[in-house]
């Protein structure tokens, strides 16, 4: 298994660097262009959530594991967390006002998504197969 770990400041201007690191690794791993785009968006949404909802944390972490046919991305923060079970169901697009689509997008674009959240932080785990 090949493992990568990127720790970066919790600031919106650096989310692009996390996306780029993830897509570059995905590209070396041999994903096709469409899957690389899916990963780019999913990683972006996960990092956006840290920047938007875990402002308490100064920095956060992206871990990427490559094993067999699967790329697993962990985005981990040490923010105040949220209650995963109390998430509202999918939004009617006509009511969308810029909030509540991130996790839905990740779930749709990736093959698997899991969220662990406590009052010590949130980790989102996403898997994509080649």
């Amino acid at each position: 298994m090949d493992q990568f770990k990127l720790t970066l400041p919790n600031k919106r201007e650096y989310v692009i660097s996390a996306r780029l690191a993830a897509t570059s690794i995905a590209s070396v791993f041999g994903f096709d262009i469409e899957k690389i785009e899916d990963i780019r968006i999913a990683v972006g949404e996960a990092c956006n959530n840290v920047v938007l909802h875990s402002k308490e944390a100064d920095s956060f972490e992206m871990v990427i594991e490559l094993k067999d046919e699967t790329m697993t991305v962990y985005v981990c923060d040490t923010g105040k967390g949220f209650e995963v079970d109390k998430m509202p169901p999918v939004i009617d697009p006509h009511d969308y006002s810029g909030s509540g689509l991130g996790l839905f997008i990740i779930e749709t674009l990736m093959d698997e998504m899991k969220v662990h959240s406590t009052d010590e932080g949130t980790t989102i785990i996403m898997k994509k197969r080649r």
């Binding site: 989310v15 692009i16 469409e34 785009e37 938007l52 697009p93 006002s97 810029g98 997008i105």
Partner: protein, 106 residues
């Protein structure tokens, strides 16, 4: 910056033409929001967004554009996204926002 924005007012078609190049994300959407506010203050008109060189959009970019669309609607104007790349249209499609936005190939 990761997003380049060019705008011009077309007298002939009486609308703003805005070209986006690069990535519309959590960081750059603020710049686009400001630019759109400025030009719409200068002149309220339809907005055509040329997205052929837009390589990335995320939910924060979508949310910002929806805000602009709502504001335009109160004045009877619209925002149309022209020639989005596959990865960008895919995001509109999977979120169902292709029903809220007007997307067009030209």
């Amino acid at each position: 910056m990761a997003l380049k924005i060019r705008h011009l007012y077309s007298e002939r078609s009486e609308r703003w033409e805005v070209k986006l190049m690069g990535e519309l994300d959590i960081d750059s959407s603020t710049a686009l929001k400001e630019r759109l506010s400025e030009i719409l203050e200068e002149k309220t008109a339809d907005v055509i967004v040329n997205a052929e060189d837009l390589e990335y959009i995320d939910s924060t970019g979508l949310g910002m554009l929806i805000g602009v669309i709502k504001q335009l609607k109160t004045n009877g104007k619209e925002l149309i996204i022209v020639n989005p790349q596959d990865s960008v249209s895919k995001l509109f499609r999977i979120t169902g926002l292709d029903k809220v936005f007007t997307l067009r190939e030209e």
